[in-house]
């Protein structure tokens, strides 16, 4: 299995806050060791490795994880807690999961 983490850099060169938070969380949990490579999606450079991967898989958010297993279709995870649970077999708390959803979902339609 090969895991690639894609994190974003804004067009003005500043780092993506959520990508940093996820990376720190993974570092504290010892999960970064499970990541085979980290690539950058640089919004100012469509040829950057992360932007090319995003285009290839139709992904419009970051961070995201590309999971490749021999003989199986490539899987993409845009939701961190899903990735942690389903790929790394690790536990996450309901509070953390809800907090992640809150960051990604506009709630005015509910």
């Amino acid at each position: 299995m090969k895991i690639t983490m894609v994190k974003k850099i804004f067009a003005d060169g500043s780092p993506c806050k959520k990508c940093g938070e996820v990376e720190e969380k993974m570092r504290l949990a010892g999960q970064l060791e499970r990541i085979d490579q980290t690539v950058v999606a640089d919004e100012s450079n469509p040829e950057s490795e992360g932007m090319v991967l995003a285009a290839e898989h139709g992904i419009d958010r970051a961070p995201f994880f590309v999971v490749e297993r021999d003989g199986e279709p490539t899987q993409i995870y845009t939701v961190y807690f899903k990735f942690v649970k389903e790929v790394l077999d690790a536990e996450t708390s309901e509070e953390d999961e809800i907090a992640e959803i809150m960051n990604d979902v506009d709630l005015d339609f509910l």
């Binding site: 995003a54 907090a99 709630l107 339609f109």
Partner: protein
Amino acid sequence: MSSITNIVDIDSELATQSPQEILRYALENFDNIAISFSGAEDVVLIDMAYKIRKDIQVFSLDTGRLHAQTYRFIEAVRNHYDIKIDLVMPEAAKVEKLVKEKGLFSFYQDDHKECCGVRKIAPLRKQLLTVDAWITGQRKDQSPGTRAAVPAMQDDKAFARPDDSLTKFNPLANWTSKQVWDYIRQNNVPYNELHDEGYVSIGCEPCTRPTGPGQHEREGRWWWEEATMKECGLHAVNISK
């Protein structure tokens, strides 16, 4: 149905179709599917769906903080269509803990996320574990900054059951507010009386206010929070497929 390729292909096809055609596709392809009804103008979904299938499942998130007018409206819709509307409520212990620790209006000091997490997201997650697909009233014009790309159909990874898929339909994605209101008027669809008082987007009472001429509807929600750039989006103006 659940493969990403299929969903993208079907979405491309549905994207050019009317809300009614999208709804028909959704209701004919999923038995266990529910409409999420906010108690606002998304009532058009109920009207359209009811004309396709009488046994529609509808749920509303009852946060405990809705306007009295919204509760009356939900009841009026229930009676008008003679349908069941499941009111999905937050876990009492979690609400009690939040209120005990931070009071009833903590969202004005912090932000709305903690309260919405307890009162909306947690109950919504629980509800969505019971269905294979859901239907929302999301439209592109509700939030041009963050919702410009809302598809007609999508693979909902955030709320899907573990190792399973959940399909989300947004039949009104390409409609404007005016089209929604034209439909309401032309079809005599009941609507929330708050709309006559200047409310456009309607949510919980403390977090919703009427908007004035020229204001975007989002300015009536969580107005004390600074509008910030969505951190998660890849602003892919330059992404070429």
